[in-house]
Amino acid sequence: MRANRCILALFLLATAIFLLPASAKAGEKMWGALLVATNEETATRIPARLDGFSKRLSSVFGYSHFRLIGESTREVGNDIESWFILGDDFQARSLIVPQEKDAYQLGLEIYFHKKKIAESVAKLGKGSPLFVRGPLYGRGQLILVVMVLP
């Protein structure tokens, strides 16, 4: 009788341990933003979430300043989509699904003038943004950023 209770307790413990990672992901969030990269002096700073990427963004894209023109924060989940819309010119749809420990799968569709022009699947870690180099916009370049918040 006592042995049966022990076995039951172990089974419940193992189940709890097995379910723990899935439940821990429940409250996790993703963040996405549209930036305009320019070489014009602006009063705005790069978003705080991209502080560590300022110099690297300049190195890769060749622009000195990055201005936030829109952002979105949503929970991560199987049926939670995020849309990033810049009028009728540029739209992006993203879906982030938890995978193994601290890794997520991102599905991304890019629309230009309401027409799908590209799609991509990527693997993301927490706090690791994926950048999408969009069209030339105004006096700079449009950049889409998608990341899972740490």
Binding site: G32, A33, L34, V36, F53, R56, L57, S59, V60, I69, G70, E71, S72, R74, E81, S82, W83, F84, I85, L86, G87, D89, F90, Q91, D102, A103, Q105, L108, I110, Y111, F112, H113, K114, K115, K116, I117, A118, E119, S120, V121, A122, K123, L124, G125, K126, G127, S128, P129, L130, F131, V132, R133, G134, P135, L136, Y137, G138, R139, L142, P150
Partner: protein, 187 residues
């Protein structure tokens, strides 16, 4: 002129002339030797031929053992040979020290030379990997690009038309929020 030995051999063989015998006896006396008569010589020869071989020993081992015992008693006591300690360089303590030193060296080399695992395996490291990228428009190219130097992953879209900046742009006046776009052909 024959020598003394030749004359003595001729006498024993009975071939020496009688007239030379006195001279031979005188020379033998002067040498301190005694001449044996031919008869005595013949008797001695027959005795030697009769006992020319030694009788076989029936207890040879006992005889040899006795001789060996006597030799051991009469010879000085043999001192046990002291084996000099090995002068080999590879002795146990030294080998142990060298083993430890080798392990320490290997550990240091492992820490300094062997490349560490990429930091991307740690939770805080950058991990963004494009698994697939496909352009749906023939005029557009979608390229996955990872900058090793900057440690950034970019989906690089080329072939898009220039978008003039609207003043104010919709995104500025209306911050991006998750919402369903208007129904379009694209969907």
């Amino acid at each position: 002129m024959r020598t003394f030995e030749e004359k003595a051999a001729a006498w024993l063989d009975g071939q020496l002339p009688e007239k030379e015998l006195p001279a031979l006896q005188r020379e033998a006396e002067s040498r301190g030797e005694t001449l044996m008569s031919p008869e005595e010589n013949a008797r001695l020869g027959s005795l030697l031929r009769k006992f020319s071989t030694a009788p076989a020993l029936t207890n040879g081992d006992f005889f040899n053992h006795g001789i060996l015992e006597r030799i051991e008693k009469e010879s000085p006591i043999a001192q046990p040979v002291q084996v000099a300690p090995s002068k080999s360089w590879f002795r146990i303590p030294r080998l142990a020290w060298f083993g430890g030193a080798s392990l320490a060296t290997a550990f240091i080399l492992f820490l300094t030379i062997i490349p560490k695992k990429s930091e991307s395996h740690s939770p805080e490291a950058y991990l963004a990997q494009i698994i697939s990228a496909r352009a749906a428009d023939p005029n557009v190219s979608a390229t996955a690009f990872h900058s090793e130097k900057s440690d950034m992953t970019i989906l690089w879209l080329d072939g898009l038309d220039y978008v003039p900046q609207q003043s104010p742009s919709p995104a500025q006046t209306q911050p991006l929020q998750p919402k369903e776009p208007a129904k379009t052909d694209a969907r």
